[in-house]
Structures are given as structure tokens and as C-alpha cells.
């Protein structure tokens, strides 16, 4: 029995939520952005803005040049997370085989359930009706239906916005020669470039290429490419109940021009290390490998290095000191950076590990536990490190610095 896979993609998601929240933004081009007055980028463009050529990840200045009437709106993560939770609670009633692909994209395997609704098309209509009732008229979704994930996503993309598209297996072979390889989820720009260089431009080209060659060039991934080229994608829908284990915990931050000197960037880094430590403690993990990285300019490559500590930690100060040690070892010592980032990997569960031997370590552990209790009760900004207070403007200037960014279901 062929699978019935649905891909549900919210239309211009963040912009639609903002238009739902504020009717005066409806029907006009808006761009959701981090900081409307700062050098920032468009996170999401409304349908009206897209008609002017405004796209996600475009700098605000460029978007305003394309669409002078564009209204920039500061994004509010809580709104999007709450809306996602609401639409997921609806979708969970349709099937437990639901994979949360991103904050605004979901895959569902409805092979068993679709017949109860009179087929997948009727099921999709029912979902969209429920969305309209529960989320409001502005927040819509496009649904793609196919026998596998890659083609369900592809057909959803071709039916945007607010559409429903179904691709039957018998229709796939005739489409393969029309679909450029870059249009398929799972084929990134780098792979696309490599395939293009050897004359593989469409899925049909990919399907005709020998499996041996693809495996030789791309390893196991080459087998996936061969399947996709033949209109197949065996990738299963991974249910939300099967949470992927955490491999690393990290934060990075793009810096506005007034915070780009290395001294101020390190203050921002101090705050990021605290956030990483706090998240590790919340998750119940400790980690040994610390990665520190930065960018010199918005378009420049990322420079970074990692070290493995002789012990595991969940302490922001230890992580910060490790970053400083990495920075000293690096070959580049810039005066200005545009982005800083830190992550901790090589994780292990904290539970069951022996306690610290040194008094100072035990003191730090008690201090972290006390600050965690204060933050749990009064909020993340209720207590911060002294270094962070040296520069009062950080919470205002660095968008999202004080926000919790985790979301889980």
C-alpha cells in the first residue's frame, strides 16, 4: 500500500501572525524583522511584500529599496510559538505520525487515517477549516500530498499560498524532467553546484545517472539522490514523540555596529555562555568540548575553533574562560567582529556523576543552582553577571538577547 504523506507549510508565517494580531497591517506589505531601526534582515515577508520581490534573509535596506511602502514590524517569538503549539494541537488529533520539521512546517503520515475523512484531499480541507476557526482568517497553510516526503513538500511549494496540491505516483515520471534538482528538499546549494558541474540539472538527469557514480561521489547520500531522481523518497515521517537526542547546545548573536569592537563582543559572549550553561543545566547535561567562533563581516566566512576540556561542565563561567583560551590560540585577532557564537558538545547526562572535589567548584555549583532558582521564579533577567551590567545597552541593542529561544512540544 502506497504511503499518503502530507506536508503542511504555513504561508508567510511570522508576517501572517503579525497581520492576524494587528488588523491595520492586513493587506499591506510588511516585513517582520529583528530590529526595525537597526541594520537587520527580513525574517518573513507578507504576501503583499513578496509581490514586490521582498524575500526572507534580505537586508532591511534592500527590502525598502524594492518596496518603499514596506512596513517593518518587530517580531515577537512568543506569538509564533503559541500559534505553532495551537496548530500542532489540532494536527495531533488527525494522526500521531506527525513530524515537526520546523516552527511552520509539518509532515504527517496519514496512510491509515485519510480514508476516515473521505480521502487525503478532504482531510486537508478539514484541517484548513479548523485552522481558520482556531487561528483566524490571516493565518493559512498550504498542504502538499504525495506518497513521499520530498514530493509532498515540492507539491506544497507549487501550490502556495493557501492551496492544496496532490501529486499521484503516476504523475511523477512525467514531472521529473521539469524539476530542477535545487527545488528538492535535501539537495542543498553545494550539492546542487557539484551536480550542475557534471551536467545534472533536473531530477530526470539524476535518475539516469548511475548509482555507482553517485555513491562514489557522494557516499551513502548518493543512494538517496538516486532514489529522488526516480521519484522516490523512502525517508520515514519521524513522529514528534521520538525526540532526537541533544548533541550540542549553543548560541550565537549578530552584533549591531556599535557593539562590534572585540571588548564589547566579548561581553555579549559572556552573556551567551551563561545562556548555554543555563540550558545545559535545564536539560540535565554537562559537556566537555567548547566551540568558539566569530565572523568579521556579515558576508565573511565563519572563523572558529574548539577545545576539549579535561572535565565536563555546565558552568557559564568555565565555558567563557574556555572561549577566551580559544581566542588566544586563534591565528586571527580582529579588532571588530560582526557575530560571536559558542557551543558545547561531547555531552553526557549530569545525573549520577560524582560531585566536585575542589571547594571553588562546589561553590560555583551552589551559585549556579541559586541563580537558576532566582531565574525560574522571577525571569531570565532577574539576575545577571556583573560583566554584562558594565554595558547597559546590551539588552536593548542586541535583539533577542534576553529572550528564551527554546520551544518544544
Amino acid at each position: 500500500m502506497a504511503r499518503i504523506i502530507m506536508h503542511l507549510d504555513m504561508d508567510s508565517y511570522f508576517a501572517s501572525v503579525e497581520q492576524q494580531a494587528n488588523p491595520s497591517l492586513r493587506g499591506i506589505p510588511i516585513g517582520v524583522t529583528g530590529r526595525p531601526k537597526e541594520r537587520s534582515i527580513i525574517v518573513a515577508a507578507s504576501r503583499e511584500a513578496k509581490r514586490w520581490g521582498v524575500k526572507s534573509a534580505m537586508p532591511n535596506w534592500e527590502a525598502l529599496k524594492l518596496c518603499p511602502s514596506l512596513k517593518l514590524v518587530s517580531g515577537k517569538a512568543e506569538r509564533y510559538i503559541a500559534t505553532t503549539k495551537r496548530f500542532l494541537s489540532i494536527l495531533k488529533r488527525y494522526t500521531p505520525l506527525l513530524e515537526v520539521f520546523s516552527i511552520d512546517e509539518v509532515f504527517m503520515d496519514v496512510t491509515q487515517e485519510a480514508r476516515h475523512y473521505g480521502g487525503p484531499l478532504n482531510m486537508a480541507r478539514s484541517i484548513k477549516d479548523e485552522f481558520r476557526e482556531a487561528l483566524g482568517e490571516c493565518i493559512t497553510a498550504t498542504v502538499g500530498i504525495a506518497s513521499n516526503k520530498a514530493f509532498a513538500k515540492l507539491i506544497a511549494k507549487r501550490n502556495k499560498p493557501n492551496g492544496i496540491g496532490q501529486l499521484r505516483d503516476e504523475e511523477i515520471p512525467s514531472l521529473l524532467s521539469e524539476i530542477p534538482i535545487g527545488e528538492v528538499c535535501g539537495i542543498g546549494r553545494r550539492i546542487e553546484g557539484r551536480l550542475e558541474r557534471v551536467g545534472i540539472h533536473t531530477l530526470a538527469d539524476l535518475g539516469r545517472t548511475s548509482q555507482r557514480y553517485l555513491k562514489q561521489e557522494f557516499g551513502v547520500y548518493g543512494l538517496f539522490l538516486k532514489e529522488i531522481g526516480q521519484g522516490r523518497d523512502p525517508t520515514p515521517v519521524i513522529p514528534y514523540t521520538t525526540a532526537a537526542p541533544v548533541k550540542s547546545v549553543g548560541h550565537s548573536k549578530s552584533l549591531p555596529p556599535q557593539l562590534r569592537s572585540i571588548d564589547l563582543a566579548l561581553l555579549v559572549l559572556r552573556g551567551l555562555c551563561d545562556k548555554v550553561g543555563r540550558r545545559l543545566r535545564k536539560l540535565g547535561y554537562v559537556g566537555r568540548t567548547v566551540y568558539f567562533g566569530f565572523r568579521l563581516g556579515s558576508m565573511s566566512p565563519h572563523h572558529g575553533k574548539q577545545i576539549t576540556l579535561p572535565f565536563s561542565t555546565d558552568d557559564g563561567e568555565v565555558i567563557y574562560n574556555a572561549c577566551l583560551a580559544i581566542e588566544r590560540k586563534m591565528l586571527i585577532h580582529p579588532k571588530n567582529v560582526s557575530q560571536v557564537g559558542v557551543s558545547v558538545s561531547n555531552l553526557a547526562e549530569r545525573r549520577g556523576r560524582s560531585g566536585y572535589l575542589l571547594d571553588e567548584d562546589r561553590r560555583r555549583e551552589r551559585l549556579n543552582a541559586a541563580t537558576d532558582r532566582i531565574r525560574d521564579r522571577f525571569g531570565e533577567r532577574a539576575i545577571v553577571t556583573g560583566e554584562t551590567l558594565l554595558f547597559d545597552a546590551i539588552p536593548e541593542h542586541v535583539g533577542g538577547f534576553s529572550q528564551g529561544e527554546e520551544w518544544e512540544f
Binding site: 494587528n22 488588523p23 512568543e78 506569538r79 500559534t83 521564579r377 525571569g379
Partner: protein
């Protein structure tokens, strides 16, 4: 464009059976009463242990952002976008 206010207000609310949040019908700000014509979005916000419910509502052509402190049952008018 929203203008910040951050003032406590009196709210007229219905706790409807089965609803996920209290339904705001009207509020009094200063001497004026505003009847809610549509609730556009409701979402939670947490500050430590305190759960706030944020309401984006319309009263006629005016838009309002309000916040309910669920621990203390206090309503605040956070911002307004008033026509004219």
C-alpha cells in the same frame, strides 16, 4: 503604529466553559469604556513563575495590546494603535 501605555485597567471578562483563555469583552481605561469587537490573537508570555496572557484586540478601528497577570488577576493596557 502602537504607542506604549503600560497602565492598569478594569476589564470585563467571561470565563467560558471549554475556552482556552478568559474572553475579554470590554475594558475601561480612564473614563472611557472600549467594547471588544474582535480578539485577534492571544498568546502566553512567562516571566519567571508568572504567566501572562497577552491579548491583541480591536475595538472598532482601534487596536489594543493588553496583558493579564494570571498570578494576580491584574489587567494592564500595554499599547494602543488608535485612529485619528
Amino acid at each position: 503604529m502602537y504607542q506604549p501605555v503600560s497602565e492598569p485597567i478594569d476589564a470585563y471578562v467571561i470565563y467560558k466553559r471549554g475556552a482556552t483563555h478568559p474572553i475579554l469583552r470590554a475594558f475601561r481605561w480612564g473614563r472611557r469604556r472600549f467594547d471588544i469587537t474582535s480578539t485577534n490573537l492571544v498568546y502566553p508570555e512567562r516571566e519567571g513563575e508568572t504567566l501572562f496572557l497577552c491579548y491583541a484586540v480591536s475595538s472598532g478601528r482601534n487596536q489594543f495590546q493588553l496583558r493579564l497577570n494570571t498570578n494576580r488577576s491584574l489587567w494592564t493596557l500595554e499599547a494602543i494603535d488608535v485612529e485619528g
